[in-house]
């Protein structure tokens, strides 16, 4: 009788529907996360893991300047990538939403996703070819006589990492902004002009505020995963362009120090979460519910 009612009531049905994805999320998100948290309070004894509770890992992270430096650099790179990506994505999304014939919008979105047709790794290598010492940019500029010797500040440093990541995440930023722009009732823009605003001031008073939810989403979608990216800095960053994720990877694999890696991962995650929450909080007035 009780089970019968369980399946019939509104909440019960919802629970039944939710159960499989919930279990899935638990297995793939919560369990690894808990494992990482647990590991971060243990220590590595050569080949064994010492499971006595300790804060040694965190103490080391705080006292050794290298970790703080890497974390800072990571946040800086992610911040730059986010700014560059969103600043480039907004005009593209705006153009597609406002200036492309409605019947052609889907083909434009389709074209925007083309970079995703090749693997991430291949795209990174392509950027190497473009930015390299004898790469497309350098030979092009030298051929044109603009420069005498190859530019060196575009590969194997932080700039190269930023360029590559900004390109990789562009569609992720374009799509949410595009969706937000699409949702704007065009008569609002006319109303603004009718009330005395120019096209430019209409953009700042109406279009931009109404597209903020998309902009915030784009910022988070780009910012959060770039902190964890280690492939691009590994391949493009050179010695000075390594980030916190590379250190985590090194700890887990090369140095076989999973507990310290876990603690680093947690610290990075807490930083990202705190910054993201702060960002959402600062933008809360644009994210209020509306009809």
């Amino acid at each position: 009788m009780a089970r019968f009612r369980w399946g019939q009531s509104e909440g019960g049905r919802a629970a039944l529907l939710m159960a499989p994805p919930f279990a899935y999320a638990l297995l793939l998100l919560a369990v690894p996360l808990l494992a990482i948290i647990l590991f971060s309070f243990w220590t590595q004894d050569f080949m064994d893991v010492n499971t006595t509770f300790t804060l040694d890992n965190y103490r080391e992270i705080i006292t050794q300047p290298i970790y703080g430096l890497l974390l800072q650099r990571s946040l800086y790179v992610s911040g730059c990538v986010t700014i560059v990506t969103v600043l480039l994505a907004y005009p593209i999304a705006y153009f597609v939403s406002f200036h492309v014939d409605p019947s052609r919008k889907s083909i434009w979105l389709f074209l925007i996703t083309i970079p995703f047709w090749t693997s991430y790794l291949i795209r990174v290598f392509l950027w190497k070819v473009i930015l390299g010492y004898n790469g497309v940019v350098n030979s092009g500029l030298m051929g044109l006589g603009v420069i005498d010797e190859p530019l060196t500040f575009i590969l194997y440093n932080v700039n190269a990492v930023i360029i590559t990541l900004a390109h990789a995440f562009a569609p992720f930023a374009i799509l949410p902004i595009f969706v937000a722009l699409e949702k704007i009732d065009r008569s609002l823009l006319e109303a603004s002009q009718d009330l005395g605003e120019t096209r430019l001031s209409t953009f700042f008073r109406v279009t931009l505020p109404l597209s903020m939810p998309g902009l915030v989403a784009a910022v988070l979608i780009v910012f959060i995963p770039t902190i964890g990216d280690y492939v691009t800095p590994e391949l493009m960053g050179g010695a000075g362009g390594k980030l916190i994720a590379n250190m985590i990877q090194t700890q887990f694999l090369a140095l076989n120090n999973a507990p310290l890696g876990a603690a680093l991962a947690l610290v990075a995650m807490i930083c990202v979460t705190a910054i993201s929450l702060l960002f959402v909080f600062l933008n809360r007035r644009w994210l209020r519910g509306r009809s």
């Binding site: 009732d185 008569s187 609002l188 006319e190 109303a191 603004s192 002009q193 009718d194 009330l195 005395g196 605003e197 120019t198 008073r205 109406v206 505020p209 109404l210 644009w286 209020r288 519910g289 509306r290 009809s291």
Partner: protein, 361 residues
């Protein structure tokens, strides 16, 4: 008196589609003017050209004597109430109303006083702090009105502002709009496809068909003396019969099929009437049923009731008359003691020459 808004030979093409086909229009300051017409006839297009959202393909538009070609919407002395109201969802009610005041020289205090006054005027005093999404349709409409009126435009353009409201609300807002217009003295141009709304509210109405103005008159003239069959069909209910006009010296008479011959008073003869076949319109309320025990000085003709529609205060009868092709509709007030006839009842229909509206065949 010079016109506040004056259009001459205005043409508008959307690609190859000819949306406005030569509009000539003069609207006086302080007038309540309506654009009335069936869907797709170009009312919105005409309003948007006045507002500055659409350019003209040809012709001239002057507002207050100034040519408006090349003047963008934000610099025109017009404000618009959009059909969807276009309330900014990210702003509160007060912020919406104050939107157009950004460039004004008013101090902050004066602005908030103006906002309060505008909200009071539309009956939304105390709503200033509300989020704009927490408003009903009628309230949104009032916010849109307040937002436009606060700028004291020379002309207020309203694109079917009442069509989204239910009947009760609509009637209430009609009265309020008329009151507001008298109070602020601003010229209103109202687009509507509801002929009743246009008749109730306007000083003058332009009836549009397919990008042209069919007739432009005050409501009474428009109703009493439509100049064509399509105007007559669009405004109110109208029965159509055929007839033959004959002229004899100064008098014009018409032989109406099924009813008989009548001499028309000069006021009812449109200019340019020539002998020959014509179409004749008869309003349902200018005919009457002769009930048992009633008498009349007017002419009567035998008829059979073919349909009865009861409206409470009124009853609409469709009657058949020998020699008339289609049924005639007659509206009768349900006065005390007056019965409601049944379908099939034999009766008499009262008419006279004052019922007849001559229309080009």
């Amino acid at each position: 008196m010079t016109a506040l808004i004056s259009l001459r030979g205005v043409q508008k093409y959307y690609g190859t589609y000819h949306a406005l086909r030569g509009i000539d229009l003069d609207i006086k300051a302080g007038e309540f003017f309506s654009l009335l017409g069936p869907s797709g006839c170009g009312k919105t297009t005409l309003l948007r050209t006045i507002a500055g959202f659409e350019g003209l393909s040809d012709g001239t538009l002057k507002i207050d004597g100034k040519d408006m070609s090349g003047v963008p919407a934000n610099l025109r002395p017009t404000n618009m109430v959009f059909q969807s109201y276009a309330i900014f969802p990210h702003l509160s009610v007060a912020e919406n109303v104050a939107f157009g005041l950004r460039k004004s020289s008013m101090s902050k205090k004066e602005k908030s006083a103006a906002v309060k006054e505008a909200l009071d005027m539309v009956g939304l005093g105390g709503f200033g702090g509300r989020a704009s999404h927490a408003l009903s349709g009628g309230q949104r409409q009032r916010v849109a009105l307040a937002r436009a009126l606060i700028l004291k435009p020379k002309v207020l353009l309203l694109d079917e502002p009442l069509s989204a409201l239910d009947k009760k609300m609509r009637e209430q807002m009609q009265v309020e709009l008329i009151r507001l217009q008298r109070q602020v003295g601003i010229t209103f141009i109202l687009v509507t496809h509801d002929q009743e709304e246009a008749l109730v509210m306007s000083d003058r109405i332009a009836v549009m068909f397919e990008g042209e103005i069919g007739q432009m008159d005050d409501p009474e003239t428009l109703y009493r003396a439509p100049n064509s069959r399509r105007v007559a069909e669009f405004i109110g209910k109208m029965n159509f019969l055929t007839g033959v006009v004959t002229t004899d010296g100064g008098t014009v008479s018409v032989d109406v099929a099924g009813l008989g011959r009548a001499e028309l008073p000069a006021s009812q003869v449109p200019q340019g009437t020539v002998p020959g076949k014509v179409s004749i319109g008869i309003r349902p309320e200018t005919l009457a049923i002769l009930f048992d025990g009633e008498t009349t000085q007017r002419r009567v003709v035998d008829a059979t009731v073919s349909e009865v529609v009861y409206y409470g205060d009124m009853t609409y009868y469709d009657v058949r008359i020998a020699g008339v092709e289609s049924a005639l509709t007659i509206s009768m007030k349900n006065l005390i003691g007056r019965p409601v006839l049944d379908v099939g009842a034999k009766t008499k229909v009262i008419w006279d020459e004052r019922s007849l509206v001559l229309l080009p065949a």
